[in-house]
Symmetry: C2
Subunit: 326 residues, 2 copies
């Protein structure tokens, strides 16, 4: 089983994450063995497993650390993440994910829709067979609802040139930070951590999720897929306006309007021009500054946790994944 | 609030079903008010509400009849049904459902995928806020998993001319009977019915679900949408081979093969020819005979329940919805 090399620096976590993958693999049984294989390939295609990792670390906050239960809950969170990825790929018509063909490009969107649904159920199945209480599950389903509201919001705001920073933050809070917060929360709450610590854990996930998504969105403007040095610009091509663009637009909306109004008909020159404008108004720098603020908040919250090796690992992990260059 | 006129004959159930719709309506809050309206229109567009009705009736089997809880669980079941319908419409590219435009034809498949996901979560949210125990939820999510397996199976077997009666029954057992069984089961188990009665309730739902789906599938060969008297034949056009065809095919496969091999290219004459063959080998009659068997099994199980007005209603309802002409 091949994990992302980043985990070589965390041997304990590496062992646990391998068990998370085994748990997930065991719970997925699709009669169509081709689809099953594809789902399992996706599991092993080197996703970073950040959400389960944070759940595992947070499960060591309280006095009642039950390794098996922690691994199960971490697995449920990754399955949920996979379900949303598969449905996102249907929506975005993405040809590949983690370097392998997406379910929908290989088997049609029909399979992809139902396979995503199936994984949602697997998530609830794992959760309910390991949850402490009904309250815990209720909490989880309310959260998952918020995650989906974030996705619906994102679609609703496509091509909206009046989108505000506040709306953007609310959207990524639902779409991304919610699942990270759910991960650290679930870990902490099952370990019988104090009420304060559980809230603490929730905040860690929330802040790091915000920073993570902002950085991810910035990378769409700054990094290239093909090695030719050209930024990907997938978001803006799909009408999803993220923080660097929103910040820049605020400075001088009328300069952006004629470009963005073309929507799907934006040419390569238009995109080039957009990058020039974003650079002119320092959209990327400003976005990084906000990401840094969230990172610092996350790190500050981590320091409030009871001391221990797990806390040091969480601190180190958070610092390293939120470095700008990854 | 307009319910299907069939409920006029059951005033108590009618009142309860109206409260089920109110519960569902309250639990659905989508920021995009247009989509919310569309989802709510779908709720009120005169679906038969059979699944919640059976859950409500079954909730009167045991001694502990809690009306509020019964209504909540019935609502969760209908929401689950709606979620699968919305995703089915995405998969089938259906333009309308219950006479109103489908979510995906009106807002795009993107919205439809996420709206279905959202309703899945609403279902779990309602269930978990009213469930007796974690075991109950676990049971439910395992069942929903089976329902989705039925959908995946159906797609896997598209255009498979070797599909057997057994495979067909296993598919509709997952796709349809499972949700009916879950409805009667959930009703009974929350009413503190005995273990025997709960199993009894499960069987009722299973048998009536089997009969219901077989009849529904037969209607695709015998009834017309447009009043012109031409059968719809939606299933066979989409490569979904149902019982009348499977029975007829078994008699003389080689007569069917050249027609069905054309798959999407079947002409109107080919379809006409297919109907002739199915009539020749009495596929429809044989399918009705099997539906009757399941109906009788369901009625026999209902008679085993403790006597009461609810039992008489269940018996009458089951007899009337499984009459061949609806």
């Amino acid at each position: 089983m091949q994990l992302h090399p980043m985990w070589d620096a965390y041997p304990n976590l590496q062992t646990d994450l391998k068990d998370v993958l085994t748990t997930i693999e065991k719970s997925i049984q699709i009669r169509d063995k081709q689809v099953e294989k594809n789902v399992k390939d996706l599991i092993h295609a080197g996703g970073k497993l950040l959400r389960p990792a944070y759940a595992l670390l947070a499960a060591q906050i309280g006095p009642d650390h039950d390794r098996d239960r922690a691994i199960a809950v971490a697995g449920a969170l990754e399955v949920l993440h996979m379900a949303t990825l598969i449905h996102d790929d249907v929506v975005d018509d993405a040809p590949t994910r983690r370097g392998i063909p997406t379910i929908h490009s290989k088997y049609g969107r029909n399979y992809a829709v139902y396979t995503g649904d199936y994984l949602f159920c697997i998530c609830f199945k794992i959760l309910s067979s390991h949850a402490n209480s009904v309250e815990n599950i209720e909490f989880n389903s309310k959260n998952i609802e918020k995650i989906l509201m974030g996705e619906l919001d994102q679609m609703r705001m496509r091509y909206d040139i009046n989108v505000t920073v506040r709306q953007y933050l609310s959207r990524i809070s639902g779409k991304t930070a919610q699942l990270f917060a759910l991960s650290t929360f679930s870990g902490a709450s099952q370990s019988k951590a104090t009420r304060f610590q559980v809230r603490n854990a929730w905040n860690i996930g929330h802040y790091l999720g915000m920073a993570f998504q902002i950085i991810d969105d910035v990378l769409d403007y700054t990094s290239s897929d093909d090695g030719l040095g050209k930024p990907v610009l997938n978001d803006v091509k799909q009408g999803v306006y993220t923080l660097p663009l929103i910040y820049a637009m605020q400075k001088h909306p009328s300069e952006f309007q004629p470009l963005l109004e073309k929507q799907l008909d934006m040419s390569d020159e238009d995109l080039e021009q957009l990058l020039v404008l974003i650079a002119k108004y320092k959209g990327v720098e400003q976005a990084f500054t906000l990401a840094d603020k969230y990172t610092k908040k996350a790190l500050r919250e981590i320091k409030k946790l009871p001391a221990g090796a797990y806390r040091d690992q969480m601190y180190e992990l958070t610092s390293s994944i939120l470095k700008r260059n990854i």
